[in-house]
Symmetry: C2
Subunit: 466 residues, 2 copies
């Protein structure tokens, strides 16, 4: 069962599943579903219609459905739960891990939330109410409370007894946390240290410091970056009195970082609104439309300023229409170089490499880079114009010197200023607590289009009068 082979087999299992659903064959469906990982099953579920989903959910029953629901995009969960009767819902809600359960309570309607609470046991209800206090984008909102906890005055044997009791509910036992009698985090041990030390060993003799920890109110992205930076499997979450509340696990961190990367990428392309939890093809045309239209309309209106500059300088163009040959180039070079600089800086901010306080060092780096880029581009075009000269002079009586100075000079100025602007605008936005998303590559391009027009036409006007 190599990977290639495994994938082939999965395809066949998925095909069996689809055939069973179409045939309405419950036992074939159960057999096929049993062979498929629930992450793949959730992916497949997206493609089914209402009736097929109902048949699938009811056939696999509440136990398997719990695993499936834990993997579904949140937009599909409430609907999926509506297929079940209260007795089955009670099983599903009880089986869910506490972090998945609280996510679901956060997204369902008020009415469903009340109904679901009434189906929970008293312990789960209390736990869920406590977790619901945290915003869903914080460490508290993402953590799981199912962890192994022991105290420092236990022996290894006592610790193993305690953990054995909890082993099925604990999400990970790779790290076991040591708390004091008030529940404050004092250290950690690894399961391997329990497994390989003699039973009478005291926990406080083998425990290590648990320095890395975050407050429950910490932003989830910050928590994920700490996990990633220090290669942690779990990161403890505490309250302001250091009480251990739960942990964020490595798989949550991976998910958070992927979401943030996708968000960065989309924002840079001027795609607005919330990321769809559905895959590209399963996202509706309406949703695609809504996320793109706002910026398109805004940017279209910004472009009128460029148009107005061009309109105002009509007499310059009329004087030597060959100037139009290089107008789009000067304009676009600003958007391209500015977009490169903005992308570099925005990514570096996301990765925690630069902050607003480093604006001067960033400016100094981009001033030099921008000058080198502008000079190279200006020089390349100056040379190119030399070869193009016979054609250009056949259309106009412009001299080489005038044209080359206009084009090369404005390219240098446009690339230099756009690079600097592209690097500094995101920093500035962050500094005044504005969403750096307004500095997407297209919005930057629309802005420097205006400066490009101004630079080019002003230069041309001045040089043509010489």
């Amino acid at each position: 069962m190599l990977c290639a082979v495994a994938e082939e087999m999965e395809l066949t299992d998925l095909e069996k599943l689809r055939a069973a659903i179409e045939a309405g064959d419950g036992s074939a469906l159960l057999a096929a579903a049993g062979e498929i990982h629930y992450a793949d099953l959730a992916h497949e579920y997206e493609n089914y219609d209402d009736e097929e989903r109902d048949f699938l959910l009811k056939t696999i029953g509440p136990e398997l459905a719990t695993d499936l629901i834990g993997e579904l995009p949140w937009t599909l969960i409430e609907e999926a739960l509506s297929h079940f009767k209260p007795a089955q819902l009670r099983i599903i809600l009880g089986n869910l891990s506490d972090d998945d359960r609280v996510d679901i309570f956060q997204i369902v309607s008020q009415e469903n939330q009340r109904r679901f609470f009434s189906l929970l046991g008293p312990h789960d209800e209390q736990l869920t109410r406590n977790l619901l206090k945290y915003d869903e984008d914080t460490a508290g909102g993402r953590m799981t409370t199912s962890i192994g906890r022991i105290t420092a005055d236990m022996t290894v044997k006592q610790a193993i007894t305690v953990l054995r009791r909890d082993k099925d509910s604990a999400e990970t036992l790779s790290r076991i946390f040591v708390v004091d009698e008030q529940g404050r985090l004092v250290g950690k041990v690894r399961l391997r240290d329990l497994a390989f030390h003699p039973w009478p060993t005291m926990i406080h003799d083998i425990m290590e410091d648990a320095d890395e920890r975050v407050l429950a109110t910490t932003d989830q992205e910050t928590a994920a970056r700490i996990l990633s930076k220090y290669d942690l499997i779990v990161l403890p979450v505490v309250d302001e009195f250091d009480h251990l509340l739960g942990v964020i696990t490595y798989d949550d961190a991976m998910e958070i970082l992927q979401e943030e990367s996708t968000e960065d990428i989309e924002k840079l392309a001027a795609i607005g609104g919330e990321q769809s939890e559905l895959s590209y093809l399963n996202t509706s045309v309406n949703s695609h439309f809504r996320r793109r239209v706002i910026w398109l309309v805004v940017l279209a209106f910004v472009s009128i300023f460029s148009g107005y500059v061009m309109f105002r300088f009509s007499e310059v163009l009329n004087q030597a229409f060959v100037l139009s040959l290089f107008l789009p180039m000067v304009v676009a070079a600003g958007g391209n170089s500015g977009g490169q600089a903005a992308t570099m800086v925005i990514r570096a901010m996301s990765l925690g490499e630069v902050s607003a306080g480093m604006a001067l060092r960033i400016a100094w780096k981009e001033i030099r880079t921008g000058l080198m880029l502008g000079a190279t581009l200006g020089l390349a075009m100056g040379l190119f114009i030399y070869f193009l000269l016979p054609f250009i002079q056949s259309q106009s009586d412009i001299t080489y010197a005038r044209l080359a100075i206009t084009v090369s000079g404005s390219l240098l100025l446009q690339v230099f200023s756009s690079t600097l602007l592209g690097a500094l605008l995101p920093i500035g936005a962050r500094a005044i607590r504005l969403d750096p998303a307004v500095v997407s590559s297209p919005s930057l391009a629309s802005t420097v289009d205006v400066t490009g027009m101004l630079i080019y036409f002003t230069a041309a006007k001045f040089i043509l009068t010489l």
Copy 2:
């Protein structure tokens, strides 16, 4: 020591470190370095000059330096190793985890590689030579071979004895793999299952299937996506005969996915070449320049085509120069909408959501989205022109109907065609095994700038003659 406080303390520790280095105080340096996580130490190391690095490395000695070197960006590693004498190098190379060691052997000069091999013990040398066979971008190139291995015919007690022997070298014991007498992967157990089962239990009674596995030649990104999709802590790597070679761990996966996201982001902004391993500020101006200049020059030449179209249609502009008010808008709307569509599709390809075979479904989605976007933008501008009309008519004798149809019609056509092109070009590039990087947002914009000019001027020319 809450996170906020911890960060503050870290700052102080870093400041102590800097002060110790400046004062040349070795014992203060050692004390400060002992308080700093080596991931932070590596980050700090980037900022030091040659002399400071030498002092730091020699003071902390080969043991601590091993941890530091494992976290350094690869461009700094060879230089860091040059500070040590052969006896110290022997310690460092021996202490490195096998995956870090092979990474280093991959990047150093031929001469250093020979020298480093001579410093390794026979077992480490053989292991490193074996691992060097795999390309660094594959699962084999990223895996570690330090894992817990047991056989199915052992008892839990025997297994614990075997693992106890290996516990310090094994990178993770969260998953322990079961192999047959030929070393073929047959299953896995969790350390918790060993810890909590009675000692006489047979391994084959508690082991689970290890279905998820990859070939050593699998691309590292594919391996990382499998880890992420199935929430695995480790993913076994096998050869074509199913022999267990090693594992990829969750922290490698996190790193690989972050690198790939950064690559996507940079490519979309037309930034070329290899990602710098150094942080943004520590990357040299020369390197920033080199990665951006190529595409800037290429795109500048592409823009000449736009200029040429504009030049060719000079008589249309001269007939009604108010048309220039809307020219940048029509042109930019294509780049913006095309860039949005391309970004969506490229990200979906990266996340494994769409493949070239889905081109028709993607086209159908984007045809509808593009029509809606184009119609909305066309309508908005048609209305806007109505309010702008007094000004426009004062400059020209153009009628509302003619102007509105020209602008709205070409916006519709330009947005629709650019959206479709933006979505299909990356798919097409992938299909013919071209690097989808050529479909960056700027290169797409430069292309649809030409079509935008053509559409707008052709429409204007036609409608003005009516």
